[in-house]
Amino acid sequence: MSRYARQLIAFAATLHLASLGANAGIDYDRDIRPLLSDTCYACHGPDDAERKADLRLHTRDGLLGEIRASEPLESELYQRISSNDPDERMPPPEFARSLTSKQIETIRRWIEEGANWKGHWAFERVERPDAPEVKQTEWVKNPIDRFVLARLESEGLMPSPPAQDSVLARRLWFDLTGLPPTSAEVARFAQTREMAATAKRLFRRPTYAERMTSRWLDAARYADTSGYQTDGWRTMWRWRDWVIDSFRRNQRFDQFTLEQLAGDLLPNATLEQKIATGFNRNHRGNSEGGIVQEEFLVEYAVDRVDTTFTVWQGVTIGCARCHSHKYDPFTHRDYYQLFAFFNRLHEKGRVFKEGNSAPWIVAPTRAQARKLKQLKKTEAAARSRFEEGSRNLPEQIHAWEQRREHTPTWLDYESLVASSAQTNGAVAKFGYFDRFTLSAQIKIKAGDQGTILSKKNPAKQGLGYSLDLTKDGKVQLNLIKRWLDDALRVETVEPVSSGHVLVTYNGSRKSSGIQFFVNGERVEHKANLDYMNQTFETDEPLLVGKGNADFTGEVETIAVFDRVLDEIEIRAVAEPSPIATILAQPERQRSALEKSKLEQYFLRQAGPDELRRAHAKWLAAKRIRAAFKRDLPSVMIMEDRNEQPTHILLRGQYDQPGERVFANVPASLPAMPKNAPRNRLGLAHWLVSRENPLTARVTINRLWRDIFGTGLVKTTEDFGVQGERPSHPALLDWLAAEFMESGWDIQHMLTLIVSSSTYQQSSRSTPELNRRDPENRLLARGPRFRLPAEMIRDQALAISGLLHRTVGGPSVKSYQPAGLWADIASVGNYELGEGTDLYRRSLYSYWKRTVPPPMMMNFDSASRESCEVGMKRTNTPMQALNLMNDETFVEASRVLAQSILQATKHKRLTTAFLRVLQRKPNARESGVLERSLATHLAKYRAAPEAADDLLSVGQAALPDGIDRAELAAWTMICSTLMNLDETVTKE
């Protein structure tokens, strides 16, 4: 082993000591349980199925039964772990884990000191501890500092001095808005360094809400596609907007929880509260052909259980899916009791390849809701004007007929795309999102059958659509992608006879979106196949009387419309007689259909101008409103049906049901109140009750992690016995208590944290401190770590001035290398956005789960395939290439350079530093960059085409009359600044 490696191991040893505390006695919960859990619980822990020798080392009685207090040598446990006999020795030599001699010694000491026992800290109720006394009281700004300082003093360490103005302002702005301050903001901040007041100002900005939302999206596995094989699109951004709005109004975290987990079950749930439940529909959905639906219904409920318990409880409950948890007190039964809260949706195991899958709701934004109201008013007004003018319609028609001033023509249909008179193969191309009407006048006798009209592949049950007459005389619509498992087949309940048949399809992909009409009257239908997941669109010709089997009757006329006709229109279409023929009949002998058709003719073509205009206006208003409604965004939500029988699934397998169970919380955590409903609402109330030991601790720990880089509990996702213990247990509990007692007020907690001396320390370290505490767990200095992915990109946009600050709305497609989707995905091409879409904050970037945005992944974003609350942070050559060469960063450098050239020559470098880092360069820095500027400039002067090339990157406009060589040289300088460690780091 090299010296280098040995050194590293030495670091680790120091850290271990640091977290253990130098002089403390042995503490069971802190020092012993983690050892037993990691090495012994697999066979002697909570999992009944795997337990050997009936030994329960995870329980107090089980463990203490193996021990004689104060007498290690007389204790069975110690004898076994210290034995030299391979048959006696525990864990057995062949087992993957073992105890080091130091660990064995720790256990010995613990027994010797009396073998004290405590429950696992994280499962104990949160009690607010007193803040400890400290010596350097002048350093203490609030109780947080007492906890931190007490520990530092006990370790013999000094806190660091306060950070410089620009560093502290930058830290604060990134922490609260995810964006850097401007240098003017830094200057203002520096006058007072008032943390609480500044925080308050920043909370009012929408950028604060966006910053908080970014992290929540990772936890909520938010994406714009469904994941799995096809990974088609869905629309969940209305849920994202809800989250932004919630942070904006500083909604209490307990309410935030209730609404996301059970907003639909709240009394008189509002639209927004239902939208909030999209949280638990953000999981992946499988649309692959041939999947076993039951298998994936289980996966979806599993995802909801695991995500909910990771986010709110910080426990790895998922381990109990297949068997009782090996380390934590969660049984196999506990798991399926939780599962029972989440498996009651009206949903299918196979989701739609494109778009949202049930249950979902139409979810207009507030602006859209206002517009909709207005359109409704407009339509009502148009309607009443029309009704006014048509009050005596029969009389008007009668009078018109009497005058005989008009030569009757044909009734002109709008939206007619194919008719008997004009059928050519290339028409009537429809897909599964299209709305259309197919109709025909047929003449048949008993036993006739065959295809009335079709546009389909000639193979039997081939791709396409067809309207058929079945052998028992029913009219049948077939919309087929793949026979049997990807098709709609819907037919009339009763057989039909000669006459007019018509069917409408509304683009919903469901049989409920289909209606049949016979001779203008709606008739009942039933679905034989009702699952369509891919479009049936085809380029085959439109054929009359053939397709599947030749029609044995006669098709007299057909008419195909590229919209859904309304019932009045349908009656008109159903009447075969021409207007002239109808008019030739005495009025009294006309049928209802004939009257209807004549009325339509009058309103559309023959009536007085004013009436026709009023009619047309009403129709237009109706269509505009309908179209607007169709385009409203939707969002998937939670919506329960009656409780489903839930069984323990043996080994977690969907097809291995065991004993039946009922919704409940794990037995080892506080019970739900007796009268609480055993549904998601009851569960959500339980999660945010004062008695729940985990929610507040877990939440505040993540908040701390976002700010300090590492949580007080490093394993943010695991507060169980295998997780790491808190570095400052009392501080964590104090914060958790404060959080709950403040009314779950996130902004209050953030204000407390940033106002502390702990937060405001300089992040400068020393070799000595690096050795003592390389991860800064003791907080003897401020945090210093690389920014998360989205902040790196957002910062580049902000400092170059490209950032477009619209808040909320659908996702956008910003720059990424061409062809990434096309290379490996099966559907969809990445169509680069335009204009401001390129410059929105990264939380709005379109997220395709199977091919996520590469820059985000390069910088360690969560993948969004499932819930992730841990933060990875790596440092790689791919990141260097990304920052140097990605169009986003090259363009931002160029646009930043454009504005720097506005400054007078000698101020430019200072301007650049102020823009990027909000500080002035020192002499050495200036020296380095001034020299390079000269070199770059000489180069681009000599090679103007190279300058042109560099300036061509990105779509942002290039100002006229600019010195291109100079701009190119400055682009390189700005790119240099964007690539600095300091720039991508929160110091």
């Binding site: 390389p774 199977t850 240099t976």
Partner: protein, 455 residues
């Protein structure tokens, strides 16, 4: 391996390295292989049309798969509703080849010639019945997203042998067919620098590799010198070791900008190379090209190269489609094995050929004399392995007369993974990563090394 370069190459934090070193003591076994090339045939090739010869089926053509064979086992939703399950014998001609007498169909004339270098496993089986879970299972040992891929486990466990190239490279070929996903070479819960780097056939081979237009090497060097100097100044003030790492990563990025184009530039390859791999190998994005690239990557010490060839999902028109697929892959797969052998690389390079599951003996859709389709079948499928300490000229495992159930020596995907790790000197039960309180493995809690196929 040089620890310092390993650390720089992978961007490991000092703690991760410590843990790894400690772990390494426990996990290392003598290694037979240093590298792996995994030729993944995505979509699932039909074993009974390529390797698993079932002459018996000819007599039963068109008759139903006996219930005694199916035993009520689940089918996919695509054929579960079929009225009948008519048996479809392969229409391709089978022969025994080489000294070992291995059965291979005439779809694979080139593979037929190297059978004595190969170890066939006819008894692979898996859990999943649909593509996404199955390919995810093959790649990560788990059906759902979130776990590290084989290659990232290897990078984590063994690091890199090349300072200027990633330790794990993925290459894709074929359009259409089943999609692929970034997670197939992803690092799951492992730190993201262990993820595979996908080399692309269009644009930059590695994302963001090329400097922007108008920035030449000299300008880039100058800019990097500045970045390095300014970062060093910052380091003096802040003493944060991450700054030093970042400086090193920028230098490695600079080197990659040379080493990757050199790697993908085939102009130095002699004519004989293309005689071996076929002219297709000149076409970026082709399977043959990727086979040739994988040899070049292997030569340069890249530990794990994985090719993904799409287009093996033959539910309908199987005879036509499988002819196309084999025509574009057979020669290059065989050429790669031959080439590695000629260069003396085969001994310590493990080559694996195979898909995510097998296909059904019964027909999906309409069965005619010369046309049929086959649905997914997880209960048996065939793979072959070469080099890397595998026995040669061996056929291991046996299926029933219907290529439906395994009758001898089943090999689970977990077993394949265990064997792969074993050949690289890793005990699959010891290569673990603690995440969410659990020590995770590629093989979960399963897997056994298939010792019978090791030389």
């Amino acid at each position: 391996m040089n620890r310092r370069s390993f650390c720089l190459t992978t961007g490991l934090s000092s703690l991760a390295l410590t843990r790894l070193l400690a772990q390494e003591q426990k996990t290392r076994l003598p290694a037979k292989a240093k590298r792996v090339i995994y030729l993944f045939q995505s979509g699932a090739p039909a074993q009974m049309d390529l390797f698993d010869h079932k002459p018996h089926l000819r007599d039963l053509a068109g008759t139903d798969l006996p219930e005694s064979i199916r035993k009520g086992q689940r089918l996919t939703g695509m054929t579960a509703t079929q009225d009948r399950f008519p048996l479809a014998p392969s229409i391709f001609k089978f022969d025994r080849h080489g000294n070992s007498g291995a059965w291979v169909s005439d779809l694979l004339p080139h593979t037929s010639k190297i059978v004595d270098q190969l170890c066939f496993i006819r008894s692979l089986h898996t859990e999943a019945i649909n593509h996404d879970p199955a390919i995810t299972f093959c790649q990560t040992g788990f059906q759902l997203a979130g776990r590290p891929s084989i290659g990232s486990w290897l990078s984590y466990g063994l690091g890199s042998d090349n300072e200027n190239l990633p330790a794990f490279v993925a290459l894709t070929s074929g359009k259409g067919g089943q999609p692929l996903y970034d997670r197939l070479w992803g690092s799951g819960f492992l730190p993201s620098h262990y993820q595979g780097v996908r080399f692309r056939s269009t644009g930059d081979p590695m994302l963001y590799l090329s400097d922007p237009p108008g920035v030449d090497r000299e300008t880039r060097r100058r800019m990097l010198d500045d970045v390095s100097e300014l970062n060093s100044l910052r380091f003096q003030q802040f003493q944060d070791p991450e700054i030093k790492t970042r400086i090193a990563q920028y230098e490695m990025a600079f080197r990659m900008q040379t080493s990757v184009p050199e790697l993908t530039d085939l102009s130095s390859e002699p004519a004989s190379t293309f005689e071996l791999y076929g002219e297709d190998a000149r076409k970026p994005g082709s399977y043959a090209h990727n086979c040739l690239l994988s040899r070049r990557l292997t030569e340069r010490g890249v530990r794990f190269v994985q090719l993904f060839e799409r287009g093996w999902d033959h539910h309908t028109k199987l005879p036509k489609k499988i002819r196309e697929r084999t025509a574009s892959t057979d020669r290059a797969s065989a050429a790669l094995v031959t080439d590695l052998k000629q260069r003396g690389l085969l001994d310590d390079t493990l080559v694996i050929w195979g898909g995510e599951f097998g296909r059904t003996a019964y027909c999906q859709g309409r069965l005619t004399k010369d046309d049929y389709g086959r649905d997914h079948h997880p209960r048996c499928f065939t793979m072959w392995l070469a080099g890397g300490g595998m026995r040669t000229g061996v056929t291991y495992g046996k299926t029933d007369d219907f290529s439906y159930n395994i009758v001898k020596d089943p090999v689970h995907v977990h077993d394949l993974h265990a064997t792969l790790l074993h050949q690289l000197g890793i005990d699959h039960t010891k290569l673990t990563f603690k995440f969410q309180g659990r020590h995770y493995r590629l093989t979960d809690v399963h897997g056994k090394v298939v010792r019978d196929i090791l030389s």
